[in-house]
Symmetry: none
């Protein structure tokens, strides 16, 4: 367990660095040179671990994605009711450690490249399906009509995408709180203001606060 060869450590380190460079400089500005400099290594050294720039960037994006996923899993474990599972997803998508301009910008950069890069397209599809799937399976419990649940999930994920896009552009960007408020406003209209939902929301917000405090 936890045994990682030095090579593996180095690889994750590089992927991490690549993601940070990507988030700061965009895809165009992500050169091997810069990634290398960011880890204090040489350009050739980077290519020693990732045969190709392409491979490195994919790893970087996978890493960025897995960060988000791990967070989501963390929240999910503590959720017990459908609405709690639902809010777990929401909180994960707007947690203080991931809902960051840098993250968002990295994500938007990837989105822009999706149509030209099958690898990216695949990854994006995975992300999309996971998000939509999770939302749907949470909603189906409170909204038994499969179509309605599907549509409800889609609506939420569209809002999340829109909000992240703006965060990535820093144009019309919303703070974490504003973002959550917007979503809440939508949910209130769609699902009414039931005590269950409100309780679930409060509970997961608390969980989020606890986890955030621990992370810091």
């Amino acid at each position: 367990m936890g045994r990682k060869s030095i090579a593996d450590i180095r690889r994750t380190e590089l992927a991490q660095a690549a993601f940070e460079v990507l988030a700061e400089h965009g895809l165009q500005g992500t050169t091997l040179q810069r990634v290398a400099a960011h880890t204090g290594a040489s350009k050739a050294s980077v290519l020693h671990y990732y045969a190709t720039k392409q491979a490195l960037i994919e790893a970087a994006l996978r890493k960025g994605n897995s960060t988000l996923r791990e967070e989501a899993v963390l929240y999910m474990r503590l959720a017990q009711t459908p609405w709690e599972r639902f809010y777990a997803i929401i909180e994960a998508n707007f947690s203080p450690t991931t809902y960051l301009p840098r993250m968002a910008h990295g994500w938007v950069a990837m989105c822009a490249e999706v149509p030209h890069n099958p690898q990216f397209a695949r990854l994006q599809r995975v992300i999309y399906r996971r998000l939509n799937g999770n939302l749907r399976s949470a909603l189906i419990a409170v909204e038994p009509d499969a179509d309605a649940a599907e549509r409800g999930a889609n609506m939420v994920s569209l809002l999340i995408d829109g909000i992240w896009l703006r965060l990535g552009m820093q144009v019309g960007g919303l703070s974490r709180e504003e973002a959550l408020d917007h979503l809440e406003s939508h949910l209130a209209q769609r699902y009414g203001t039931t005590p269950e939902r409100l309780a679930a929301r409060a509970r997961m917000a608390e969980v989020a606060a606890t986890l955030a405090a621990k992370t810091v």
Copy 2:
């Protein structure tokens, strides 16, 4: 009227070509070479009209944007009630001539570059403000609370952004009809199903159909 110098014609032609290349190959892949080839001209010739690649791409984006805006103006002129004005905006954003993967992809490519390009940021800000402003000023008539109207407008524009983003990525992309349905679903919950709204919607859909037929 309609008098345009040959130079102006050539310039729009090039901007158009640039937008098409941008839509097809992304920003990275939009080289002067390619744009030139796309119009059967030489690389130097392109620079004869646009001193700089940057200038060319900005022109391309402005052109793309103005297409959308002109469409919106067209719809707006025929709108008479607040709800009609509202739906004019919606229809313009999902008209068959603009709600196209190519368009969307070009837009996403620009979004990704916004944080690194002040010019793009400015353009994006203009677009954002226009859309939000138009929506808000339409909604304020039906939702007199300024804050509520603001929020309502924002919600709709977020949905539009999310939908366009997906169209641009071709992942989870919605057809024009699905997109309009989603929006309608949101509006129904938020504003109720009033005859005025439904009438306005029907009226503008008809207008859209007429205009689309004429364009084709």
Copy 3:
């Protein structure tokens, strides 16, 4: 007399402009574009009068040179004794209208190109011979030994070159007065302080002052 076709006028105008651009921007910076802009004409128009950039620049240099020569001729006409002829040359080379950083810089730019441009070499040779010849033929009257006169002339022309070079570089540049003082210091040591020389010097300085006043 004085009849010049419009074309000829335009040609001199362009040559003049080219010289000014050359003086300001150096040879590298002297593009057809800039010369054209400097006269408010189009690039193609310039090439209409000078088939080639090369030809234009040669004309410019010839023009610059002829300015200097005309000045020299002016002074020469008023010189009556050998020493006066000698000082006429000196004053011409340091007249307020020609001993200017811009002029000097243009000249240095030409010098640098001499080894790569036979035309320039020819022109430079002409200039060199004229200056040395004039000095020698003036000095031979006061220094009958031909070899000594040759050497004396050469020494003076070397000093002039050195002084102009510095003016052109704006490094260790001498003012007109300092330049003349330096030369005088050299002459005093070489030819002694004879009344004839001093008188001639005073006379030509006066002539220079008169002419300068008239020019202004």
Copy 4:
């Protein structure tokens, strides 16, 4: 001692090559392509060692300059009296290994660019100050009036500049011996023909001959 990394060797090699190309083709003609070809390397390889053409050319000029300076230092070490120090400078400026058309032409090319290139201006200023300073500090011993020494130094440096300029242009160029004769003629008139000076001159000429023989 003498330990230089391969990179350093390559760098000096390239600077050397650049200087040779500069001397042969002028500044305009000094392209990375040509410098690369001159060393049998690729264009990109040159930029591997000098990030910029500008940097390369500066290195080339510094190298050319340092060659001259090192020679001067060599001579200076063997000088013991003020006049010997003076002649050390003279001999260094006209030594057979540096007083060469190529060298001179490279220098003139730099001079022409001085007004447009702060870096070059700085270098030129350094050269100018060193030469003038050395001459002055040697002369002050034989010509105690500081102003007179300053002027004497300036006169000599002007002559040197003039002579080098002509060598660089190959127009009116003087051989090493002629150049030294000219200077001697000037010095004889300015400082008289004292045994000390003659002895110093003879001594440094001998030193020069010895060093030249050794170099060859």
